[in-house]
Subunit: 353 residues, 2 copies
């Protein structure tokens, strides 16, 4: 996968992290009590793997678990081992660390997640810190303290694991947008809600559904982790994952998480995300299962201020200039999206002579 990322144009688009999930470790710690890699799966060890990534301009992410065991039954990180394990990952030159939460109770998590944050920082190595903590606490206040999460974690999993099916993608998306007023404000540069991986290019999504996941994740300012096999990816999936305009919307430096504006009875949802320089993104999504639906609206109906706007559809690359009051129609495929990048408003001012 690292070779594909570096050779097939992914790295330049920002896909630079290669993340190992559970089951990488040996069942036993070494004599010094340190985690060690499974010698069969990683005969050269994790440090060598990290070097392989760095040699290609990539970064390595690794996985651990706050608890006695990982979810897969491998050695966990109990409270007394947090500093040891943080130092091990730093020694290996790891760049991201996901801290899962199987086999620990709420009190241990409340101690362990902040302590790991301090321990990672104390190593002096920049390691992006992904916390599964909120997903284990139901994802919502008062059990989850998003202010604290933003201070100690760079990203966090709020909700259950994604599966390779449209039901799963839509269920997760709906959870995040239904709770957008609670979870949305928690996000910003360096601190992100993580609705889990993209399943584009796997086996369960149609082309329209793949576009929808990409669009809904970009509006959500979600981290974009791929889960597919880059060696066998279809051209359609590649085009979606490598769409520069969507990636640029997703990675907007202002880092404001977008929201659902409308959930219409006709099955059309409208999503919006404010972007840098007074630009924005708009997504029209269809929950229908019958036919493409022609949805009519105008920018002023979507709370845009007076002015004229350039709109670029990100998949077709069609462009148009529209006044805020101009009615327009988008044809949205079943389970599909139409997604626009919208320029800043251009206002014709009163002319003084």
């Amino acid at each position: 996968m690292a070779d594909r990322l570096s050779e097939d144009g992914w790295r330049e688009l920002g896909y630079v992290y290669v993340n190992i999930d559970d089951c990488w470790a040996s069942m036993d710690r070494d004599k010094q009590g340190r985690l060690q890699a499974d010698p069969k799966r990683f005969p050269g060890g994790i440090a060598k793997l990290a070097q392989y990534m760095h040699d290609r301009g990539l970064k390595l992410g690794i996985y651990g678990d706050m608890g006695t065991h990982t979810c897969g039954g491998y050695p966990g990180t109990t409270l007394d081992l947090i500093e040891t394990d943080a130092q091990t990952f730093a020694d290996w030159q790891v760049d991201m660390f996901k801290f899962d939460g199987c086999y620990s109770n709420s009190s241990e998590k409340a101690l362990g997640y902040p302590r790991m944050s301090k321990a990672l920082n104390a190593t002096g190595r920049p390691i992006a810190y992904s916390c599964s903590w909120p997903a284990y606490q139901g994802g919502l206040p008062p059990k989850v303290n998003y202010t604290q999460l933003g201070e100690i974690c760079n990203l966090w999993r709020n909700y259950g694991d994604i599966q390779d099916s449209w039901d799963s993608v839509l269920g997760i998306s709906d959870w995040f947008y239904e709770n957008q007023d609670v979870v949305g404000p928690a996000a910003g540069p360096g601190k992100w809600n993580d609705p889990d991986m993209l399943v584009i290019g796997d086996f369960g999504l149609s082309v329209d559904q793949s576009r929808s996941q990409m669009a809904l994740w970009a509006i959500m300012a979600a981290p974009l982790f791929m889960s597919n096999d880059l060696r066998t990816i279809s051209s359609e999936a590649r085009a979606i994952l490598q769409n520069k305009m969507i990636i640029s919307i997703s990675q907007d430096p202002m880092g404001v998480q977008g929201k659902r504006l409308l959930k219409e009875k006709n099955g059309i949802d409208v999503y919006w995300r404010p972007l840098s320089d007074n630009t924005s993104a708009l997504v029209f999504f269809s929950r229908r299962h019958d036919m493409p639906y022609r949805y009519q609206t105008s920018l002023s109906k979507l709370n845009y201020t007076t002015g004229s706007y350039k709109m670029f559809e990100v998949f077709t690359e069609n462009a148009a200039t529209l006044k805020d009051t101009s009615e327009f129609v988008v044809s949205v495929n079943p389970t599909g999206v139409v997604m626009f990048y919208v320029s800043a408003p251009s206002v014709r001012r009163h002319q003084f002579r």
Copy 2:
């Protein structure tokens, strides 16, 4: 669509019926009490449209409803109008007739469906007769009499309408296979269970799911009605719908409906259909949503008799020769299939000297 069918290689594969569903009719019958086409949608009338099809080697199907109104509110065919409407369709040179069942009760259906069969036969024109009757009666005995259906109808809808989603495809497939011992024996040449249209090439199925619908419908000996736009079909969907080996399995002249042999706890189902000349088809389907699953079996475990068999995988066109006792492994994608055409057994007999 007719032009595409005749020019893009569909007709030669057997896709010859162009079927109009509800909403084709004018809201009013003519002065003689006959149905007439909506003059806006069909300015030339249905007879001209039928001629257009026939000129291209195609056939025309039309829709009616046993009841006071069609499901969409257009004029229905009450008991007193059955002979009139059958004669109208024959006069128009129609080739298939679907008789829906909105706005009538069970007693009226019990009279109307057989009467329409007689009326169509009495016209002297061969018109394939599709009955929605069983779908309105729950699809199962004792409310549904499959012996009678086989005598009066050429195909029948047993179950609800399909939608453009994987949930819908799988739900329908599961209903037919769960009731295979009841509905399967009803099928045979000239009398078919109809699980509704293929939604391959629409918006809701992944490539793997599209292959699965094609395979599961072929094992079921289901009529293959497409629902997609042939002008904009993707190359992947076209390849699946135009797969000659699957079409040949689907259209096997023996006309025996296949069945599910196994529903494994690991999420793999095995389906089998006996075909002419002692050949057969096998489908391995995965209900999983995680990763491709390697399923190991042998032909003898699937009730094949002693001998060696040639197996052709219909999508990859890979071929192999296997003894009944040889173990083999198929890798089945999530929501996908691996489908084999299996030759007749070749048995090495004892040599007398």
